[in-house]
Structures are given as C-alpha cells and as structure tokens.
C-alpha cells in the first residue's frame, strides 16, 4: 500500500484550516486588545500554538496575573495532550523518534481527531496536516490582530470551535466498530465534562471526563464480549 503524501495531508487539513481561520481571528482580536504587539501575537500563535491556552493567557495577562500562575494554568489546561499523544502512538510505531517528536509538537485537538482514524499513519501525511493547520492558525491570529480595532463580534467567530468539535465527533463515531458503545461514551463524556465544569471549573474537567468516558467504553466492550473472548 502506498503511503499517503504530504500533499494529501494538507488536503485533509482543509476543514481544520477553515475552523482555525474563525477561531484564530477571534484569538488575534482579543490578543491585540489585551495589549500584545503584532510580533507578540505571531510569537504566541506560532510557538505556543494552542487555542484555548492562548485565550487563557490573554485573559490572565489582562488581569495582571503572575507569570508563574499563567504557566501553571497552561500546563494543566494542556495536560490533556498526554492522552491524545498516547492514543496516536500505536499508529506511528517504527517511526524515528525525532520525527515523532516534531509531529507531536504540533499536535492539537483537531489535527489529532483528523489523524486518529488512519492506520498506519504516514509521517509525511501528518506533517502536511500539521503544517497546513499551524500556518493557518498563525495567519488567522495576525489577521485578527489587524482587525482588532474594527471587529467586535468575536463570540460568533469563536463558535467555529464547538461547531468543528460537533463535526469531528460525528466523523469519529462513524469509524468506531461499536456504534452504540461509541454513542454511549460520547453522551456520558459530554455530561461528565459539563458536570465537572459546573461543579469545579478548570482544566481538570476535560481530563476527568475523558478518563471516565474511555474507561466506560472499555468496560462496556469487555463486558459485552465476555471474559473468554477478551484476548
């Protein structure tokens, strides 16, 4: 089987790129409004490259939070990437460590989901996906910074994020071998995420709901297939 190319990865990135244009413009608007220069907007979007973390950094900067508090919050917020990175690992076995390190550096929720349906995953394809999404994100942040004086409605643009999550969720559920189990995991994880967030707002909600949801999925699968066929 022919391994998929860099160009094919860039093509697969198109929906993510469109979503990132919306969210990235919204991010750039608020970053500029919080007093960051264009160079700083480019720096944070290209080097940190994490949408939700950038919104958090921006709002904490406006509140004059200490640098250590900001870094600690970003750490907990982005800890969920541990799970995404681990889930991608089986598809990238046998790939040299330095290539996996470069691919992992640009891992996001969205590129992860686009990539996670593919086995085996070609590093070139993943690099195409990553670079397309990353450059769209940095461009959109800069565009948002330029529009900052004029644009007021960042809420509408930022809704591209949940809309993209909804589309990605449908695509993910479709490729699962057990449809009912997958739907159950989705409903349960959503409810758990919202519940934890309401009870104790913070980055722990996503991680907690993910661990609970994946454990539920595995338990349902093992329980249904019975102890003797559990491999």
């Amino acid at each position: 089987m022919k391994r998929e190319s860099f160009a094919a990865g860039m093509r697969a990135a198109v929906p993510v790129v469109l979503g990132y244009l919306g969210i990235g413009i919204a991010a750039g608007v608020v970053e500029r409004a919080a007093g960051l220069s264009y160079a700083e907007v480019l720096l944070i979007s290209a080097v940190l490259y994490a949408g939700s973390a950038q919104f958090v950094v921006t709002s904490m900067l406006s509140l004059a939070s200490s640098a250590s508090a900001i870094v600690l919050t970003v750490f907990f917020l982005n800890l969920r990437h541990l799970l995404l990175s681990a889930a991608l690992a089986p598809a990238l076995r046998g790939v040299p460590a330095w290539k996996n390190a470069l691919l992992g550096l640009q891992l996001t929720d969205e590129t992860f989901v686009v990539a996670s349906g593919r086995r085996p995953l070609s590093p070139a394809w993943m690099a195409g996906l990553n670079l397309a999404a990353w450059s769209a994100w940095a461009m959109a942040n800069l565009a948002g910074a330029a529009l900052s004086g004029a644009a007021r409605d960042t809420r509408t643009l930022a809704f591209a994020l949940p809309a993209m999550f909804a589309g990605l969720l449908v695509l993910q559920v479709r490729i699962q071998p057990r449809l009912r189990g997958a739907l159950g995991v989705a409903l349960f994880s959503g409810a758990a995420g919202a519940g934890i967030q309401l009870a104790a707002p913070g980055p722990g909600a996503v991680i907690g709901a993910t661990v609970l949801g994946a454990t539920l999925g595995l338990s349902l699968e093992r329980w249904k297939s019975g102890p003797k066929s559990s491999r």
């Binding site: 979503g19 490259y49 589309g167 995991v185």
Partner: protein
C-alpha cells in the same frame, strides 16, 4: 512591533509545559507494544475528549448554542462534511444572536 522580554519568557514557559505532554507519549509509547486493554482504552479517547470539550464550550455559548450545534450535528451526520458543519453551526449561531 516588538517583543517584550517578559512576554517572550512567558510564551516560552507556556510552550515548554505544552510541548512535554504533546511529545513525550508519542515518542515513548511508539517504541512499545501496548497491552491490548490499553490500546482499546486509547481508542475511546478521541470521542471522549471531543464530547467533553464540546459540552464545556456549550456551557458558555448562551441560548443560541444548542440549536446551532444541533444544525452542525445534523449536517455532519447527513453529509459527513466537516466544512459544512462548521459553516452551518456558525451561520445559525450568528442568525440567532
């Protein structure tokens, strides 16, 4: 048009604590044969993380969020188009606000 040193340090600090969880499992676990239960558990991570992120976003999206996200779901289910569901969701959210 300049980068203040304290912003540079802040961004580098944030980038470092973000890069470690992004890179470490991919580099370490791709060299190992995972036990089957762990591989199966990890298969549920994409769905679980997406559903949790979506639900948390909806909490702060206001009354227009639910109908707009329903439109995005319906379009994605009918057409399998990620692009279409992003456009439909944002358009309806904009109309309802």
């Amino acid at each position: 048009m300049e980068v203040r040193p304290e912003i540079l340090a802040l961004v580098l600090g944030c980038a470092l604590v973000t890069a470690v969880p992004r890179v470490l499992p991919l580099v370490a676990l791709s060299r190992l044969e995972l036990p089957p239960w762990l591989a199966d558990w990890l298969r549920y991570v994409p769905i679980a993380v997406l559903a949790a992120l979506l639900a948390i976003e909806l909490l702060s999206a206001g009354a227009a969020g639910l109908p707009a996200i329903t439109a995005a779901f319906a379009l994605a289910a009918a057409t399998r188009s990620l692009l279409g569901s992003v456009i439909a969701g944002v358009a309806l959210y904009w109309l309802l606000n």
